[in-house]
Structures are given as C-alpha cells and as structure tokens.
C-alpha cells in the first residue's frame, strides 16, 4: 500500500512533465493539424536554459534558492519560446498548404537539427544540477517503508496545476483563445473575419513552448541530470499522452500526461524498469490502432 502511494506520487509528478509538453502537441495539432515533431526538443532547450540560468546565478547558497528558482523559471519561460517561434517561422510557415508529408519531414529535420545544435554548443556529456530543494513531508509509514512527498513534488504539482488553469483560461476567455479556436475551425474564414492567422499560429507555438520550457525546468529539478538527447524520448511519451487523451483536446492532453506518468511509474515499480519505454510505445501503438480519437477527442469522420 505504502509503495503504491509512493509510486502514485512519483507517477503524478512525472505525469506533470508529460502533460505540460502534451498540451503543446495538442494545441499545435488543433490549430494546423500537424504533429510538431520537434516539440520535445523545445522541452530539452527549456531544460538547458533553466540550467544555464540556475548555474549562472550560483544557486547553491541557501536563502537565495527561491529567488534563483524563480529567476530560472522566468528566464527559461522567456528565452525558450523564442525557439518555438523561430521553429514555426523557419520550418513550418513556408510550408503552409503543402502536403502533410513535407511538413512532417521538416518537423523531423528540426528534431534532428536542434539536439545536434545543442550538442555542438554544450557538448555531448551529461549536465548536472546539484540538488536544490531537499526534504519533504513523510506522509505514511508502514512495514519500514516511508512514503515521502517532497517539497519539490509539491512545487511541481502547484506549478503544473496553476499553468494548466491559466492556459485553459487563456483559451476559453481571451481574444487570443477565440482567435485560436476560430483558426482551428476554418483558417480561411478566420482570416476573412480579420484574424491575423499567421500571428495566431505563431502565438500557439509560443504558448506551447512556454509550457514545454516549464516542463524542462521541472525535469531538471526532479532528476538533476540532463543531456542534449532527452527531448526525443520525453517528447514521444508526451506525444503518446496527447494521443491517449485525444489529440486536439486540452483537458485530454493533461489527463493523458498524468496517465502516462502513472503507467510508467507503476510499470517500473511493479514490473521491469528496462521495458518501461516499451510500455509507453505500446500504449501509443495500441491507442492509435484501436481508438485513434483518444479518450476525450472528437471522432473524425472520413470526408469523401
């Protein structure tokens, strides 16, 4: 039981990372109907930015940790979305209206380019952040096993939930959100109604990248180790989350993220750690084959 609770907590924190990234996949898919394959790399860049700022401020000293954390968070949320914007501008905008295959290939091209750029600039070896937020609450004990809810995990959950609520509000209530939903429905009609479609799409990428950068920061704090290659695997798992939740659906992405996080945590907790990635991939394959609309997605009737 205690072990179960611990895995539950771990799974939820992991799910927060996937959920935040999955929102980016789902928003972009909703608005331009393409899989932004390079989105996982934006997450990786977000983690690097956070680490650079954290190390730049030298956060190992005690009382300044909260300040440094906020600085790293704000910094990565400012810098990383520029990559999201540039990605759209360079690789996707020129191809609007081209065959899907072409856009998908540029996306793959970008997802090869970006990690290699980071590798060249930062080196291939792992980068570490000394543990900053230690300690936590011991919430349960039984059979010599202590269930801890660390401060970090609380921080992660609070951050994730706040962001998810904020972004849902943006999409539900603001003019930008309305413009996004209009572009989703019919881009030509949206343009005719005076919506700047290019800007709306660019802002969608920026929003997705902002969330991914936070996910990167969380990943960095949680694991303390990053390298240029983390974007690939985490990206695919987050994409799996988006598909599982129903691609195009925002609540679906969050739900999918938490589910994938939980599945991974329990799989490695109760089965084998080696095959935990196979679990995620298998879910992706199974969902796409048997329920391509995901849990919360709308059915997609074939137009003839």
């Amino acid at each position: 039981m205690e072990y179960f609770v611990q895995q539950l907590i771990n799974g939820l924190t992991l799910g927060a990372v996937y959920g935040l990234i999955a929102i980016g996949y789902t928003m972009v898919y909703g608005i331009i109907g393409m899989i932004n394959f390079a989105h996982g790399e934006i997450f990786m860049i977000g983690a690097f930015h956070a680490l650079i700022i954290a190390l730049g401020l030298g956060i190992t000293t005690g009382t300044w940790i909260p300040v440094a954390l906020v600085a790293a968070l704000v910094g990565t949320m400012l810098l990383t979305p520029i990559y999201g914007w540039a990605l759209e501008r360079v690789a996707y905008r020129p191809l609007r209206g081209s065959p899907r295959l072409a856009t998908l290939i540029t996306a793959i091209g970008m997802s090869i380019y970006l990690p290699n750029q980071v590798q060249l600039l930062q080196g291939a070896r792992i980068k570490t952040l000394p543990p900053v937020l230690q300690g936590g609450f011991e919430i349960m004990e039984g059979g010599g096993f202590v269930v801890t809810l660390s401060y970090l995990q609380i921080l992660i959950m609070v951050l994730t939930v706040t962001l998810m609520v904020a972004f849902t509000l943006i999409i539900e209530k603001t003019a930008l959100g309305r413009a996004q939903r209009a572009c989703e429905q019919d881009r030509t009609m949206a343009a005719l109604s005076g919506i700047n479609v290019d800007r709306t799409i660019a802002l969608t990428f920026v929003m997705g990248a902002t969330l991914a950068s936070v996910a990167g920061m969380i990943f960095l704090l949680r694991y303390g180790v990053i390298d240029f290659f983390i974007g690939f695997l985490v990206g695919i798992k987050a994409f799996t989350a988006a598909v599982l939740g129903g691609i195009g659906s925002l609540p679906g992405a969050m739900l999918g993220g938490f589910l994938i996080g939980l599945i991974e945590a329990f799989w490695s907790g109760y089965f084998t750690v080696e095959y935990k990635d196979v679990a995620a991939f298998s879910i992706l394959v199974l969902v796409l084959i048997f329920r391509p609309t995901g849990l919360l997605g709308k059915p997609d009737i074939e137009k003839v």
């Binding site: 690789a91 020129p94 090869i112 600039l121 080196g123 980068k127 695919i236 080696e274 298998s282």
Partner: protein
C-alpha cells in the same frame, strides 16, 4: 526605368533590429554560456563574442534580404562578396600566408569553428548569387512556382541524362576497386556509401512510391542483421543461405508490424513506425539470452566466395580464395569482394524498383499515394497494397542489414537507433522522392563526404536535419523529384 521609391531607412533598421533581437534571444543562453560537464559544476564558460557576432550577422543578413526584396542588389552583391572572400581567406590563411600574416588574418574569423565560418561564407555566397542574378538578369529571383517548374525540369533533365550517365556511373562503380587512387580506406567508404544507397532505394519504395512515411525503417535493418547473425552462428548456415532467409524474416516482420497500422493516416503511421522501431531496439537491448543485450553478437562469419574464405589460411582444412586462384594473399581482396557483394545487392534493389513501378502493384502504390479513397472506389485493396510495399521495403532493408552484420562481424543495438532511420530518410528526401539517381547523389553527399572529411563528422547530423528542413522549404517534392510516366500512349507524348 521608373524611379524607385526611396528606402524607408528607419523601417528597415527596425526590422533588422528585431531580427537581431530574436537572434540574441536564440543565442544568449545556449551560445553565450557553456555548462561544464559532469558533476560538481564549476563556473560557466562564456562566449559573448560569438553571440554578438551572430546578432551582427543576423542584422546584416536581414538588411541584405530587405534590399533584395526592394530590388537593390548592388550593395548586397558587393558586401556579401566581400564578406565571403575575406572570411574564406581568413579561414585559409595558414595555408596561404606567412605565419605573421596569418596571425593578423585569423582575427578576421567571425567564429572559432571552421565549419560555422564556412557556413556563413556559403550563406553570403548565396546572397551574392541572388543579387548578381537580379543585377544582370534584371528580374527577381524566381518565385516558388517558377522554381518548382525549373526544378522539375532539372529533375527531368537529370533523369534523361541518367540514360547515358547511369551506365558510366555503373562502370566507374564496377572498376572502382582497381582505380589507382583507391586505397583500402576509400574502398571501405565506398562499401558504406553503397550500403546506404541500397537502404535508400529500399526505403524509396515505401516512402517515394507508396507515400508511406516509415520512421522505423532501421527496425527491419536490425531484424535482418540479427536474423543473419543468429542463423549463421546457431545453425551454421552459409552466407548465401542466410541472406535471403534474413530478407524473408525482415519482410515477415514488415507484414506483422504493418498489418495493424497501415490503415492509419500518414502522420500517425510515421509515429507508430517510429514507436515500433524503438520497441524492437529496446527488446534487442534487454533480451539478453537471445541477442546478447547491449554487448551484441560478435564472431559473425564473413562472406565466402562459393565456400572459399578470405583469410590468410583456411580453417578446418578448406581452401582460401587466394590459394584456390593461386594468388598472393592480400587483405584487400576481402574488401573488394565485399564491395562487389553490396554493389550487386544494390543493383538488384534498383532494377527491382524500376521494374515494379511499371507493374500494376507499383502503379497502385503511386495511386494510393495520390488518393487512397479513389483507389478504394476502383476496387484496389489499399491495406494489402500498402502491406506489399512495406514488406518489400522491409525485405531490402533486411538484406542490407545482413550484409551489415557480415561485414562488421559484430552487431549491437547501438547501430540501430532512430538516428539511423533518420539518415536513410534524409537520403531519400534529399534525393527527391522516387528518384533513383537522387538517392545515389544524396548518399554520396551525406555519407561519403563526412567520411572523407573527418572535420565535418561532428556537423553531420546537424547538416542532415538542416538540409531536410531547407530542402522541404525550397521544394516540398524533394530536390531531384521528377516523375516519368510508367507508360505512354504515344512515343513523343507529354505536355507542351
């Protein structure tokens, strides 16, 4: 000529300034600082010079673009030519000038990395070319439609030229091992390049003809390699028996994997194939008893020439190649033989693809790529037809994989990562979907060049990714893509 409106300098500066600002945002973190490796982080290294340089170049480049847009090519032509020449000289200084002069020239290099400097030179040269075009032809650089038409015409020309050029290329390929400047290293590279040509041709059936984006192609390469290794080691079967068996096993894997997923839409299919590719790799990595896990399988037998081995002395009292033909032993013989094996396999792949395009199944692939719904309404079984493409592509991938296994003598899951799939895909994309000669050119460029110029090695994947993006933006159909009809009614035929 009509008088041109004056340039709106503040607006230009604003636009260029914004570009520089974006560049600053992109570079200030990742370029400006370098995180120290490993644990026990010490201070960050800083590289603000490079950031400033990048922003300056972005600023200048944007101004050049605006000037070209406003049809004022002359200044762009001068400035970009000057930049290209100066940086090229600075880079080549150690070869060209005295040590003292070199010292001064080196300060003119914008970045530390020679390759990055080279890239900026290429970019500047592209600007200069564009400007020159505008200056002398008195018109704008062709727009996307004209460009597509021009590129298609080029693709057609290349394809027509292949009729004469192809046999010549083949001849060079055949006599390559005996050319005077070809040494062992070059021959090794040639073997590698031809392997990728074969893989490219195999994947071209799936992606180019049938339009199915397969991101897990390396899975079949892996299945072929492991099947070969396990069959050859455990059952002691010879090279020429294992090869087709491995191909068949890979094709079976293709059918098994393809069956459930081929009804998915294009981009989902891509992701699922990627997932399958990774699943296979993880299984290879963890199924220790069967695959040797991360240690891989070693001691895979080398290919034999009708039972004759390529060794100094034969094992188990047999005869070796050089003994049988009464030659003096040379280790190069083996590589020459291996080269001919892969060349033969690649040629089989090529003639197979060329033939199958003219058969109903090949035409159905292309029709499916164009419009699956229309195909169904014509009574074409879309799933089976796609499955055939998938299986045939997998088979060639598997055969190439077996060849890889026997050549290396050792395989491990590390050789079969997603990157490998991406490289093969890049070759197909760069060459142009469905273009056989395009694959050859792309494989030589993407595999051969980085092997010959080792300095490019680090930048290889970066270039792959970048090239994929640029080519798709430049021409979504692929660089040399041009479709020749599989059948004609009239000999002259064609469009006006």
């Amino acid at each position: 000529m009509t008088p041109r409106p004056a340039l709106d300098v503040p607006a230009i500066l604003k636009e260029a300034g914004l570009t520089a600002l974006v560049m600053l945002g992109l570079t200030v973190g990742l370029v400006g600082f370098r995180i120290p490796d490993g644990i026990g982080a010490s201070a960050l290294e800083t590289r603000f010079g490079a950031v400033a340089m990048a922003c300056g170049l972005a600023f200048a480049g944007r101004i050049a673009l605006i000037l070209l847009r406003e049809k004022r090519p002359r200044r762009v032509l001068f400035a970009s030519t000057a930049y290209a020449v100066v940086v090229a000289l600075a880079q080549a200084a150690p070869v060209l000038f005295s040590p003292a002069a070199t010292e001064r020239w080196i300060t003119l290099r914008p970045f530390d990395s020679a390759v990055v400097n080279g890239m900026t030179v290429v970019l500047a040269a592209a600007f200069a070319l564009r400007a020159a075009w505008m200056e002398w032809r008195h018109r704008r650089f062709p727009g996307i439609k004209e460009r597509d038409k021009a590129m298609d015409a080029m693709g057609a020309r290349v394809q027509r030229a292949t009729h004469f050029f192809g046999p010549a290329l083949l001849l060079v390929a055949v006599i390559l091992p005996f050319l005077p400047m070809v040494d062992r290293r070059l021959l090794d590279i040639a073997v590698l390049v031809v392997t990728y040509i074969m893989l490219g041709w195999g994947l071209n059936i799936v992606v180019g003809l049938a339009g199915l984006l397969d991101l897990g192609y390396v899975a079949f390469y892996a299945v072929g390699a492991y099947s070969f290794a396990l069959l050859a080691i455990n059952f002691d079967l010879g090279f020429w028996i294992c090869l087709p068996l491995a191909g068949m096993l890979a094709a079976t894997a293709g059918i098994l994997l393809g069956f459930p997923v081929l009804r998915l839409r294009g981009d989902y299919l891509a992701i699922v194939t990627l997932g399958f590719g990774e699943i296979i790799r993880i299984i290879l990595l963890n199924w220790y008893q069967f695959t040797g896990g991360p240690d891989g399988i070693s001691g895979i037998p080398k290919p034999t020439f009708f039972g004759l081995e390529f060794k100094r002395s034969a094992s188990d009292g047999g005869e070796t190649f050089h003994q049988f033909f009464d030659l003096t032993y040379s280790p190069v013989d083996k590589i020459v033989f291996i080269y001919y094996v892969i060349l033969g396999l690649a040629l089989i792949t090529n003639s197979f693809s060329l033939r199958i395009r003219k058969l109903p199944v090949g035409r159905a692939w292309e029709a499916l790529r164009e419009d699956e719904i229309a195909c169904r309404s014509l009574g074409i079984n879309a799933t089976n037809t796609k499955l055939t493409a998938f299986a045939i592509g997998a088979m060639f991938g598997g055969i190439a994989g077996s060849f890889f296994a026997t050549r290396q003598g050792f395989i491990s899951p590390e050789s079969f990562t997603f990157i490998e799939s991406a490289v093969i895909l890049a070759i197909v994309v760069l060459g142009g979907f469905g273009s056989q000669i395009g694959v050859v050119i792309a494989a030589i460029l993407l595999i051969g060049l980085p092997e010959i110029f080792r300095e490019l090695q680090d930048f290889r994947m970066l270039t792959f990714g970048g090239a994929m993006v640029l080519i798709m933006v430049w021409r979504p159909a692929g660089l040399l893509a041009h479709r020749t009809p599989s059948i004609r009614l009239s000999d002259r035929g064609g469009e006006p």
